[in-house]
């Protein structure tokens, strides 16, 4: 398996505080790597280090087999990026901005700009200076700029920020298309779980500057657990019945809410309901559920110490 991007014990200290600490991530060739974490977890700093804007305090970054140094200019040619809110030369039009970009990148293909604008669905903006663009349009233009030069590695920081649901969907399709058809490797950061879940092949979860988990989506899907959710007004009684009548011990009472999660599925829900009612437990509702990916990640992100400890 070849890696397009790897970091080895990457650390960045700002004013004595470790903003990024000991991050070793591995992005495989051709995959979409979802970089997940709450705001301020260090995602942007890591991406800035990858694009050579910020220099690591220690550790190193390896892109396409080469170690990134302050003078690694050649490798930058093969990358496209959009870090934070994309910035442009405001008085110029979209076209002029992209032309300038291509000049600086040393990329000369007349059709590329038009194609890129079309891919992100940015039309009728020929005469408009970028300062008149909405946030969503700037975001699209930023992505267009990142893909104009047909990079091998695309680094996008919160690319769906400021987009409406339709726009988000369009971009999701675009990312998948870039990955599948052009074989571009994408590193996409987001704090929105649902989005990552739908497109990523691998997910890296960052929390408080540390890489909490790096796992392929297939593996996560395998970890998915099913459970039965039971709503009742008498949780104590329900717990008693479960344990002593049905001999189920693998369940959890969600604090104070009268919701029980039963992870032991040997007793079918119909049987379960019957026993509970027979024993006088008021059942408001009972559902079979999937432990969603969201739950999984929320635990990881919000100090999911259980998971971290069990690794």
């Amino acid at each position: 398996m070849s890696y397009v991007l790897r970091t080895h014990h990457l650390t960045k200290v700002y004013g004595g505080k470790e903003v990024v600490s000991d991050v070793s991530m591995n992005v495989k060739k051709g995959e979409i790597y979802g970089f997940l974490g709450p705001n301020g977890a260090g995602k942007t700093t890591i991406m800035r280090m990858m694009t050579n804007l910020v220099k690591p305090t220690s550790g190193e970054i390896e892109i396409m087999g080469e170690k990134l140094t302050h003078s690694s200019y050649e490798v930058l040619k093969r990358m496209g990026n959009m870090i934070e809110n994309p910035v442009f030369y405001d008085k110029m039009t979209a076209q002029q901005n992209l032309e300038l970009h291509c000049e600086y990148m040393g990329y000369y293909n007349k059709n590329a700009i038009g194609e890129a604008l079309k891919l992100v669905n940015l039309s009728n903006v020929e005469r408009k200076p970028v300062k008149e663009f909405s946030l969503g349009m700037k975001q699209r233009l930023g992505i267009a700029r990142a893909i104009t030069t047909k990079p091998e590695l695309l680094i996008l920081d919160e690319p769906i920020n400021g987009l409406d649901p339709v726009g988000i969907r369009e971009l999701r399709d675009l990312f998948l298309m870039l990955s599948k058809q052009y074989g571009i490797t994408l590193l996409i950061s987001s704090h929105i779980l649902g989005e990552m879940e739908q497109i990523a092949d691998t997910i890296g979860v960052i929390r408080a500057g540390k890489l909490a988990e790096e796992v392929s989506m297939d593996a996560i899907r395998g970890k998915n657990t099913e459970y039965i959710e039971l709503y009742t007004s008498d949780a104590t009684k329900a717990a008693f019945v479960l344990e002593n009548v049905l001999h189920i011990s693998n369940f959890r009472i969600t604090e104070g809410s009268g919701v029980l999660r039963i992870y032991d599925l040997k007793v079918p829900p119909s049987e379960l309901t019957r026993s509970l009612i027979v024993n006088g437990v008021p059942v408001d509702s009972i559902n079979r559920k999937n432990h969603s990916l969201e739950d999984y990640f929320m635990e990881l992100i919000q100090g999911g110490d259980r998971h971290v400890a069990s690794r």
């Binding site: 800035r48 050579n52 910020v54 220099k55 003078s71 200019y73 870090i83 910035v87 300038l100 600086y104």
Partner: protein
């Protein structure tokens, strides 16, 4: 490098620079004619007139250079487009050097061309209005020409000094104010003799300017953005 310079110029729009410069020169010419029309305090000969013209043009374009520095360097840092430039496969030093080259070259060119144009203008007016009778000799022209080229180079250097102050806090006002202070300091006249009259002073400041320009881009490769 030439390519980078050309790309930079696309951003600032040369037309605007030329227009501003032309207006500035007209202003200087008007001012000089006003001084000339004062019979008591006005010029007595061409040496005096040309020296004043050169000084005024120099002041104007060193200050204008700080505006260019603000646009090309300080503002690019402020609105983050510098970060965009630094993700390009081009050395940061080269990117900045291209910018400084533009400022230096425009300052030099404008000081030289501007002084010549205003001087010619003044000459034409003087031929008609006769502020003073002393003739313009080739000797005067020669001395002034050498003086002008040296001062042009020195001005180009001096024009870069405000970058140092502006970059401390990435502030446009600081850049412009520091350039005004610098020209005020250099050209402040004290009993008729200003620091600028001694050719060694502008040259020294010019050298310092180039050095400061070097300082402000020296560490750029390792700086975080």
């Amino acid at each position: 490098m030439l390519h980078l310079v050309r790309l930079e110029l696309r951003k600032v729009k040369l037309g605007g620079i030329v227009r501003t410069s032309a207006l500035t020169l007209l202003g200087v010419l008007g001012f000089v004619l006003l001084i000339g029309s004062d019979e008591a305090e006005g010029f007595k000969n061409y040496e005096e007139a040309l020296t004043i013209i050169e000084m005024l043009v120099r002041i104007a374009f060193i200050i204008y250079a700080s505006v260019l520095l603000s646009k090309l360097v300080v503002e690019e840092y402020r609105n983050q487009t510098m970060a965009l430039l630094f993700t390009y496969p081009i050395s940061r030093k080269k990117l900045l050097l291209a910018k400084l080259l533009i400022v230096g070259a425009i300052t030099f060119a404008m000081v030289v061309i501007g002084t010549v144009l205003v001087s010619v203008g003044f000459y034409l007016f003087n031929e008609k209005l006769h502020y003073f009778a002393a003739p313009l000799t080739t000797d005067i022209v020669k001395t002034q020409a050498i003086h002008l080229v040296v001062n042009g180079i020195a001005s180009a250097g001096m024009a870069l000094v405000p970058l140092f102050f502006g970059m401390l806090r990435k502030s446009v006002p600081t850049t412009i104010v520091s350039s005004i202070l610098i020209v005020a300091l250099v050209n402040a006249s004290n009993n008729g003799s200003s620091l600028g009259e001694n050719i060694a002073v502008p040259i020294t400041l010019g050298v310092i300017g180039f050095f400061v320009a070097y300082l402000s881009i020296r560490n750029v490769e390792h700086a975080d953005l």
